[in-house]
């Protein structure tokens, strides 16, 4: 198993960062997102919004992957999020649904209000392969390396959305 974690501080208020996070697809940096659907959504008795989304991502295979390791380079991803606007807290977990024997990737995002109207995001990711054949470590390392390489791109995509929201807020009512 491999782990990754990182934090990031935004100058924007919590409500804007959380809004941008839920609206992050589509963006010009996310051509790999083929579809995104809400499959369940409810306001809990405590006032939080709980959402489950089903996302289809286009993937790519490493060159050393044995033929037939993965049938098609697409993956279904489940995203479960909970937003608490009263406590200014948002949590989001994503995990792949298929190819789980090759590798499970689980990502946890936590967005909460920090001091001076800023917003703190922490990201944790886990990579777990059960593939065997002497490839388990290699697959996990590949997953981690790929995740790190894509992080900048997904951040840029996120900033596009964040900017659009900032601009729309600046317009006079």
């Amino acid at each position: 198993m491999k782990f990754y974690s990182q934090s990031f501080l935004y100058d924007d208020p919590w409500s804007i960062v959380s809004l941008a996070y839920l609206l992050r697809y589509p963006n010009p940096y996310a051509n790999h997102i083929l579809s995104c659907d809400v499959i369940s959504r409810e306001v809990t008795p405590e006032g939080s919004l709980r959402t489950t989304r089903l996302i289809l991502k286009k993937g790519s295979l490493p060159r050393w992957a044995p033929a037939g390791m993965i049938q098609r380079a697409e993956s279904w991803v489940l995203e479960e999020s909970e937003v608490d606007p009263l406590g200014k807290n948002m949590r989001c977990t994503t995990k792949n649904l298929d190819h789980v024997k090759v590798m499970r990737v689980e990502e946890h995002i936590h967005i909460r209000q920090a001091e001076d109207g800023k917003t703190l995001q922490t990201t944790e990711a886990m990579f777990l392969s059960g593939f065997g054949w002497g490839l388990t470590k290699k697959i996990e390392n590949y997953g981690l390396a790929k995740f790190k390489a894509n992080l900048q791109r997904s951040r840029e995509g996120f900033f596009v959305i964040l900017d659009l929201i900032r601009q729309s807020r600046m317009q006079p009512m």
Partner: protein, 102 residues
Amino acid sequence: MSQSLSEECTPLKRKYDACFNAWFEGYLEPAVSASVTPEQRTKFSQEKAAEFEKACGKIWQEYRECVQKAVKDKGLESLLSQARQSHPLKEAPPASHDPPRS
């Protein structure tokens, strides 16, 4: 706005997303503060749920039915129920004496 997993549901999804997004912006900035009582939370929950139902309830139902059918047609139901049962981070790690490295 992005596609639905079924082409048929995409127009419904777009209508629903637009409705939800408008509601969600207001939801994220409640008039009450963080130090709310459980009673205020319950009241907030009921108000927001009613507000959503009034504005987007109908389109949500249509969109949800469309997606549920598409999920069934594509044979994704079992994949979804398996995923909801497994929580790899909460389970014990596989037999190994190495501490996890980050």
